[in-house]
């Protein structure tokens, strides 16, 4: 079920400088959302800025009928999001993550705000009794989000920062040791493209499957405008096609994506 609705904002929180958490009342969406899906959110009540912004579903509360969004204030649109009493949203949109079979060995890698959709996945994993290893990477400690909450879900967290202000000093992909990776059943990730590209290379080498949540600039969010193109493989090794992040994704199999 896909909806457009004016959802009442029931809570807003600045969780860290530049990061907000917004909760809206949208029972139908709360009940039908899967981890990895997103909402297409109207940021302005004028014509500037014009387009909706895609924001992942961060967590849902079916009992209260609420959906939470975790977002980084990246520009003008996201800067306006916390101004309203009501938020006009479309969703849930896109194809989310597929949960692994019970007792799978799972790694979840989040780069910065990439944790937004992955937290919902981590909730589902712990509901299923699965425990995941979670690697969080960020430029510095101030961009590491939700560590405590992830621990509370029962998952173990490792951290890497570019400036060494927290955890391993370096890239999050550097803490993916070959031994560890090769023992995995599935890698879930969302983050900056260079991080995901590097991770795709690593898991390919060890033949581990991955579910990667991609970003692309969007128009419609429903597959109508063909704007959110992402290069993917076809049957032929020499060929490619353009898939669309809003309907074919945002979650793609790592091996499907042409990482250039």
């Amino acid at each position: 079920m896909k909806l457009m609705t004016a959802a009442k904002v029931t809570n807003r929180k600045h969780i860290m400088p530049g990061y907000n958490l917004l909760r809206v009342h949208a029972p139908d969406i709360a009940h039908s959302s899967q981890p990895g899906q997103f909402l297409h959110v109207l940021c302005s009540d004028t014509l500037d800025p014009l387009l909706r912004r895609p924001i992942s579903i961060h967590t849902v509360d079916k009992d209260r009928g609420t959906v939470s969004l975790l977002y980084r204030v990246a520009g003008r649109g996201t800067a306006m999001l916390s101004d309203y009493e009501q938020l006009n949203i479309m969703g849930p949109l896109g194809n989310g993550f597929t949960l692994p079979p019970a007792n799978s060995k799972v790694l979840v890698v989040a780069g910065g705000i990439g944790i937004a959709p992955l937290y919902f996945l981590l909730q589902k994993l712990s509901e299923n009794g699965s425990v995941a290893d979670v690697f969080l990477g960020a430029s510095s400690a101030g961009h590491l989000l939700r560590i405590k909450d992830i621990n509370e879900l029962g998952h173990s967290v490792q951290v890497a920062t570019d400036d060494g202000s927290s955890g391993y000093h370096g890239r999050v992909t550097d803490i993916c040791s070959p031994d560890f990776i090769s023992g995995l059943d599935m890698v879930y990730t969302c983050g900056p493209r260079p991080m995901m590209r590097a991770l795709a290379k690593i898991i390919k080498k060890h033949n581990v499957p991955g579910q990667f949540s991609l970003e692309e600039r969007m128009g419609c969010g429903v597959g109508a405008c063909l704007a959110c193109a992402c290069k993917t493989r076809t049957g032929h090794p020499e060929e490619f096609t353009y898939s669309h992040v809003c309907v074919d994704g945002p979650v793609f199999s790592a091996s499907e994506v042409v990482w250039e």
């Binding site: 800025p49 014009l50 419609c220 969010g221 429903v222 290069k231």
Partner: protein
């Protein structure tokens, strides 16, 4: 829907139950929006630009926001006319509304071949895109030269019995001349405007943002240009016009109708409000009631009187 108000229009021989349709490329094949509105309530459905062979389209980014507008450089990604005719159009039959297929090609012959295939399909009408700024060959090239636009029109007409609407480019010195030229070549109607050629540079990467460097500008920003184009062409030709460019609400649609449009198409606004088309249909009806009109046809070209 009030029974004492007529919203129906006849546009280039297509009977539309109201003057509102969709702008090609902004509404997919309609089905993408079927969750958000009842497609059968539209006056007509104009589907994505279709070519002889499937096309991959341009590398991303394909879209970028600009002040009150967007630039797109999709590059006519589409499954090719065969899939459209064999798989998609049959599915659209259930909605019982006229389906207008927008077509493009590299050469006039391409257009002709596509038209021929559509002639036997469920399509109600062909919209000839001689104005796409986002492909290297064909596209806007045809649309910016009155003689070339006429040539494409003639070839399409020769290959189909369906009504033929030619979609004009605003990126020309004189749209009226192109309009007159395709009218003489046998066009049954005109659609205007396609997007304006534009671009955006990312000052941080210091490179053009779009994968294709340039793109087509659409959305509210271009509305004054589109209204002017409809006004000018209405004055100088007798063909029915599907007006578009920046329509977001009923007031915008009425502006185009008063400028001379028989029907209007909603494009970019669908992305912001997927129910824009149906909201506009309702708003037009309300305007008629409030102002004592019983028929939308009374307003076509009204601003010229």
């Amino acid at each position: 829907m009030r029974t004492d108000i007529n919203l129906g229009v006849n546009c280039a021989g297509i009977k539309m139950k109201n003057p509102v349709t969709t702008a090609s490329g902004t509404f997919g094949f309609g089905e993408e929006y079927a969750h958000y509105l009842d497609l059968s309530s539209l006056g007509a459905l104009v589907v994505k630009g279709t070519t002889l062979h499937p096309r991959k389209g341009n590398p991303p980014p394909r879209i970028i926001e600009t002040p009150c507008g967007i630039l797109n450089a999709i590059g006519l990604q589409n499954p090719g006319v065969d899939i459209v005719v064999d798989e998609i159009l049959p599915r659209l039959q259930q909605f019982s509304i006229p389906v207008i297929v927008n077509i493009s090609g590299d050469t006039p012959d391409d257009y002709g071949l596509v038209a021929k295939k559509l002639d036997q399909s469920y399509a109600a009408c062909i919209e000839v895109n001689v104005s796409c700024p986002n492909v290297r060959k064909g596209g806007m090239q045809f649309g910016s030269d009155p003689a070339a636009a006429a040539e494409v029109t003639r070839v399409v007409k020769a290959n189909t019995n369906l009504p033929v609407i030619v979609k004009l480019s605003p990126n020309v010195t004189d749209m009226v001349r192109v309009a007159q030229s395709v009218a003489e070549a046998g066009a049954d109607g005109l659609a205007m405007i396609n997007t304006l050629l534009g671009m955006k540079i990312d000052i941080h990467t210091m490179r053009p943002v779009l994968g294709n460097t340039m793109g087509g500008l659409s959305g509210p920003a271009v509305k004054p240009i589109a209204v002017r184009a409809v006004w000018q062409v209405f004055k100088e030709t007798n063909l029915p016009i599907i007006g578009m460019g920046g329509i977001t609400c009923a007031d915008d649609a009425l502006e185009f109708i008063m400028a001379g449009a028989t029907a209007v198409a909603v494009g970019t606004a669908n992305f912001i409000n997927p129910r824009a088309t149906v909201d506009i249909i309702e708003g037009i009806e309300q305007f008629l009631v409030k102002n004592g009109y019983s028929d939308v046809n009374q307003l076509i070209g009204k601003a010229h009187q």
